[in-house]
Symmetry: C2
Subunit: 443 residues, 2 copies
């Protein structure tokens, strides 16, 4: 939908046309379209959205738009909205709203819902509890398929997903039944005969990254969440797991580039926030690389005697850094996807060692020949070639070992990525280079 | 399940116990357990898996195990397996198997299936067509809810998902109905009244990365795939979209660390393959950084006069590289998630410019004071501080601009990540540093 046409229709009060447009649009697209409107237009447009779509459009809006709407809603409008919102979307919204609006909302919900909301708000930000919803289909083992279908017909419309149903006994989860089975099995079959008892579940405090991994491993639509006492307290749905997967990848990528991760998109963070996320690591790395510089001054005699030696410093430092990044990146990603574990330590190190010998040899030959042709100096070519092999081997070993050590001591391996590795490897490449040079040139 | 106990039971031919264990295990876990067995044990164990689980276990195995089993299966076993496998899993398997086994399989399926399989195999590897399945629930607009449910009861068991049903008219897609609606709406309601006509669909040749993005944007369970003539030819299900999302993040991360991406996990690639994926970029970057070295030799007089100048080269190069990586990483990820587009070019550049001024100032002050205290040399402190500001600004600008240019000319922005940026930025930091030094020290 073209924004300009939409705004023109709004301004001309052609509400019938606006309503027809909103009627055929998808909720996600409506939220996107509305995000481009001025506050006043937003208020009018939101009220023209068909009733059955309004809540989903609302849950797809960002918190600024949500705040504005909650502020201007009448008591009745707010109640209607909260009734239609799923519990996890309500909680997501509350986490972002200013305090006065939060209390306005908590005043508008029923006492029972208020208790539930407060419980959900109390789960740690990275836990399964924080992304779960409390609305699921609850069955009993002695129901028949037909009874279950009747139960879903009555209550299902208010559940975020009805495609996995949970069989409970005194609130304990004893089995699951898929809607597919209910739809394809005989009406008189009892749930007990149908239900899956090999249960895959998580706890309220399970890390949401692990939740996402389980979703992907088992291709789930929903995953039950149990409390300490094994009681079923909620479910996580696949759409939230998908978001976690993407967020976690972004977080890893951000950390790997020496920044504090931000949950907000690029344009939603201010210049100062961005600077604050970037400066700490830069400072640490800057002072760390001073060590390399200090070591360099120790070889003043060497590069005073042969100034050409300085010309190869950037090449060796960069190559070391790049080789180290390659290894650390693969290991970090492997650890994140559970393809590599700490028990594989020696296997990884041995593999990287063999790879580094091949890579080092190829780079050494290529650059050795280049130096020989350019400077007609065999000794220099040998120094460069040997330094390259040494740098590649050391940097690949450091690159693969550090992330594994980090995972061992429960640090995030992602912080052991390129920038830190590069800084460490720099020192080694300078040491290797000048020691070989000093030796071969008798400096 | 403990592997050793399982193997012991197999060896003691306690098949009843093995069958009971397999009976209560999840298909994904069975595939994992079987992957640790020897070929002979694998053959026995696979035949002990309950019939209704065998196909799903099989589709969760890697291609080596699948090859082995296809080889030893009787004609009857193979037919049973192929009947139970979903079309997309069959195609996935065929893409990995050796030619002789592929023809064995194609001989075992019906002529109609063979045509379908060949069609699916012909779609490009990164397209929606390559990950779709042709098994979906097909409804007519004049069916009632009750009729639709009866239709699903009859045919649904063989469909990969029944949770979104497709309403077609002469093979053209005219609407979708969710299983949730079928389960909660009145039995006599007609599909036409219920169906969603705001269709979200892709083409067979749509890039699978875009498919994954659409899934995430609209929280879909399945997405219809249309051919050139607008006919419905298949659907992509959310589990495949989830895999694509994770694969694409891995691919980006790998490219960002200057490697060719591999579709296989770390341990599944040989040492030679790994070396082959890593060497090309290393060679390019190594020769690129020789430029920096050559520029360095131009300032021989400067560092012969003041050898201490060399000590700051690693620090400036590293800081420039790190600053550039931060910006390029954020922009690359933003582009991948569609949070940043090329039309935001000037907004991004202006934002990064302001950030770089803050970051540069902080680093310059910190390091300037350090130099002043350590060397009691005001001129040197000023040179370092000014060089830092210049390096940070230039590297952040290069870091944010290159990925955007790449996206503009339809190159993958991920290749414009840290390693390439670092190499480019090195040259600039050396130029800035020695020009400022030459000027201020009158060299």
């Amino acid at each position: 939908m073209d924004k300009d046409i939409f705004v023109k229709l709004l301004q001309q009060r052609q509400y019938k046309a606006v309503r027809s447009i909103l009627d055929v649009m998808n909720e996600v697209d409506i939220a996107l379209l509305l995000s481009e409107l001025e506050d006043k237009e937003l208020a009018i447009a939101f009220r023209l959205i068909p009733k059955d779509k309004a809540a989903e459009v609302f849950s797809n809006m960002d918190s600024t738009m949500q705040s504005y709407l909650v502020q201007i809603f009448t008591e009745k409008e707010l109640k209607e909205l909260l009734d239609a919102l799923y519990m996890d979307d309500t909680v997501d919204m509350l986490e972002e709203l200013p305090a006065n609006l939060v209390s306005r909302i908590l005043d508008s919900v029923s006492a029972a819902d208020r208790v539930k909301i407060n419980e959900l708000l109390n789960y740690p930000a990275d836990s399964a509890g924080s992304i779960m919803t409390t609305e699921y289909v609850d069955l009993r083992k002695n129901m028949t398929v037909a009874q279950s279908m009747a139960h879903i017909k009555e209550t299902g419309i208010h559940k975020e997903t009805i495609y996995t149903c949970y069989v409970t006994e005194r609130r304990k989860l004893i089995g699951t039944v898929s809607a597919k089975e209910l739809m394809t099995e005989d009406d008189n079959m009892r749930i007990e005969e149908l239900m899956e008892t090999e249960l895959i579940s998580v706890r309220t405090h399970t890390d949401k990254e692990d939740v996402a991994r389980i979703f992907r491993k088992y291709d789930l639509i929903a995953l039950p969440v149990l409390d300490e006492g094994d009681l079923l307290v909620g479910i996580v749905t696949f759409d939230d797991a998908m978001d976690v997967m993407v967020e976690e990848a972004t977080e890893d990528i951000t950390k790997m580039a020496a920044m504090s991760p931000s949950e907000k998109p690029y344009f939603a963070t201010s210049v100062f926030e961005q600077a604050r996320h970037r400066i700490p690591w830069l400072l640490v790395l800057m002072f760390a690389s001073i060590v390399t510089g200090t070591i360099l001054t120790k070889y003043e005699n060497a590069f005073s005697a042969i100034p050409l030696l300085v010309a190869f410093i950037p090449m060796l430092m960069d190559t070391g850094g790049n080789c180290g990044s390659q290894s650390s990146t693969l290991v970090i990603r492997g650890l994140a996807l559970n393809e590599i574990q700490f028990k594989d330590f020696f296997r990884v190190v041995f593999k990287e060692f063999r790879i580094s010998l091949i890579v080092g040899a190829v780079l050494a030959i290529a650059n050795g020949i280049r130096v020989l042709v350019q400077y007609q100096n065999i000794a220099l070519a040998v120094v460069i070639a040997l330094s390259l092999v040494g740098t590649v081997v050391i940097s690949k070993l450091i690159g693969c070992m550090l992330p594994m050590f980090a995972s061992r001591i429960h640090l995030d391996p992602a912080i052991m990525a390129s920038p830190l590795i590069t800084t460490l490897v720099d020192t080694f490449s300078i040491l290797i280079y000048f020691n070989i040079a000093t030796l071969l040139f008798n400096l």
